[in-house]
Symmetry: C2
Subunit: 395 residues, 2 copies
């Protein structure tokens, strides 16, 4: 898949009028630029430079003992090995390519585009000293946002598969869950099912799944506890798997019936209905060119207009190889989100839609769907939750 | 173990006369500061600040939905949650602590101390703008070098256990290996044994183990290939496991007897003997206060004086939670190693000693031991290889 992504990167460089993209990494086992996995596909030991030009040239400069690894992989036109310092090889290559704009991986707003460490940035400046080339550096944020964001047919297939597996597990929860079971026990059961399929969790296993029950509000989004499921409570689960590197990230909400109840109490049902409405309204507003800040406002505004508190986070994020995949965000104009809510949406980006409503005395209702932006609007990758799922009491 | 490491960090801050150490992370699932695992022990979702003062205060500032995770963990005196921006909480805390020196995680020379991304660095400057605090920032290289380098009794126990398991597997290789077997097959057998014990590989599985055979020189340090073991060839293996997060990193060399041979040819034996001598000489020179550049020169000089090419890398690196653990290095004064070969060695640091010799027409001989610096000198953590291991021919 690296070849597909490199070809896409070259197109994006042309589109953005950027001459060169340079990924810089070292000791990948300790800390690694997330773009290494996309366009390099191997680990680097010593300070290494991977250059992709708008003309389609691809070059690697690596420590001498790494050279064979990168030559064998066959992704680069040239792989040069250095012993003392990469300076000469790097300057020679850059002078020949003579790029006016060199994109490197840093971004104050987006972790996925921020793979260059500060020490490696300083090292780069030191290597380029006196060459005049450091004035040509700019952040690769946009290159990376487009490269991670625009999903190919194959990437969409994997994302759909990850959604289907997650929903299959969710479908079994109502039969498995029972009052008296703790959040941790339910989480352990889900983890066991995932492991049986040999699939990695979509994010850190401590909170994948997150299982959250009951009327307190604080704690949703953190690890499951010993709190037990009780009749008359809501519980929600946030979970995802990786299928061939691609994540799902979906939430569902259940209500535990009290003895004698056939349905959830009206205030629970009403909160849940408002939650689903907010998803539908946001979904209907999605289209290429729309801004995330406006999509977020649709859902947030609806929930507030119905008398509920606004959710304390963004409406949705992109999903790809990481569950929080970065780039354009369906979020409010809060400083913590930087410029991401203002980036225009693009066809083939995949987003979550995940509002939440706190229903007093019952719990936190959350539903999270995954959608892909299409030419005309959007399409669900997950079969949406259309009704509140009920757990029967004494069994 | 986070508490032990935090207490150690506070001691180190006092020793180095640094008032505050600040670890900064966000979206740990995408890219994470390696020090998070040492002193935080949880993943951060939004831009987060973890502050450790020389007076022993510990504070966290995290995104609102992460707050419960960090409060439950109980490592911090205060955990403050922000919704819009961390600015107010961060400035309030820094103004109260009023540190003259604030160490943050960047280092041009050492990946393990370079966990702050460039984008997060820029974000930090933006948050501190106008406060006068940004002039007080300095790299945490020394804090991290000492914190990772100085192994506690418990850390040494785990490292010894990882060495013992690796050597146990190596002990079986001579019975398992036979001419005609490919490097890949032998590697797969080692991997299967490791997985059976439920232990992670010490570095990326593509090249852990690295199995490298035969007379060509290029390719050692890369992944095993379909090349087959042949009588009259040397082969070496580089492998390690993690025991409770702590790595081994050991190499051994074997010679495959030709029919009729009872021992390796004299030129192979001589090269191997010079290799072991170089290890013994370097080992004897180790002591607190010595510099890595001088230790490297002992082994390198011995090998060159006996007519062999110098090895194209450093003599040894530190080992801990990562196989290449950073900080002081037993390496030559090559630009790629920056200042690391000049840092004085300290008691309780763990190093590899891993020279190599190319023996023309036979292959690459490498032996890698692990040692710990003691008050008086050094001690082996691995039972050293004292003779060339032989594989019998036709079986």
């Amino acid at each position: 898949m690296e070849k597909e992504k490199i070809a896409q990167a070259v197109e994006i460089l042309r589109e953005l009028d950027i001459d060169l993209w340079m990924v810089i990494d070292r000791e990948s086992g300790i800390i690694t630029d997330p773009m290494m996995d996309y366009v390099v596909g191997n680990h680097a030991t010593w300070l290494s430079f991977f250059l992709f030009s708008r003309t389609g040239e691809k070059h690697a400069i690596v420590g001498n003992l790494d050279v064979e690894t990168f030559r064998r992989a066959g992704l680069f036109d040239t792989v040069s090995a250095y012993k003392g310092s990469p300076r000469d090889d790097l300057l020679r290559l850059l002078r020949r390519l003579d790029p006016r704009k060199i994109a490197i991986d840093y971004s104050p707003d987006c972790a996925a585009a921020d793979g260059l460490t500060h020490g490696n940035f300083l090292k780069l400046l030191e290597l380029l000293q006196g060459s005049g080339l450091s004035d040509r550096l700019l952040p690769a944020e946009e290159v990376i946002a487009k490269l991670r964001g625009r999903k190919s047919a194959e990437e969409l297939r994997r994302l759909r598969a990850a959604c289907a597996i997650t929903l299959d597990i969710y479908g079994r929860v109502a039969r498995k869950a029972r009052p008296g079971m703790s959040e941790k026990e339910l989480a352990a059961w889900i983890t066991a099912r995932r492991e049986k399929m040999g699939l990695p969790a979509a994010w850190h296993v401590d909170s994948c799944p997150a299982v959250f029950s009951g009327p307190q509000e604080i704690g949703a989004h953190s690890a499951p506890t010993g709190n037990v499921l009780r009749p008359g409570h809501i519980f929600n689960i946030d979970f995802g798997v990786k299928v061939e590197k691609y994540c799902s990230d979906l939430q569902r909400t259940w209500y535990i019936l009290r003895p004698g109840e056939k349905a959830a109490p009206p205030e629970v049902q009403r909160g849940f209905d408002v939650l689903l409405e907010s998803i539908r309204l946001a979904f209907a507003a999605l289209r290429p060119g729309a801004r995330g800040v406006d999509i977020d406002a649709v859902a947030r505004g609806h929930i507030v207009s119905r008398g509920y508190d606004e959710y304390p986070h963004a409406l949705g994020h992109q999903v790809g190889r990481d569950a929080h995949d970065g780039g354009a965000l369906l979020g409010p104009a809060w400083e913590r989100y930087g410029n991401l809510p203002f980036l225009p949406l693009e066809k083939d980006q995949v987003f979550t839609i995940e509002p939440r409503i706190y229903i007093k005395d019952f719990g936190v209702a959350t539903v999270e769907e995954m959608v892909v932006i299409t030419a005309a609007g959007a399409e669900y990758l997950s079969q949406p939750q259309v009704e509140l799922w009920l757990v029967k009491p004494g069994r």
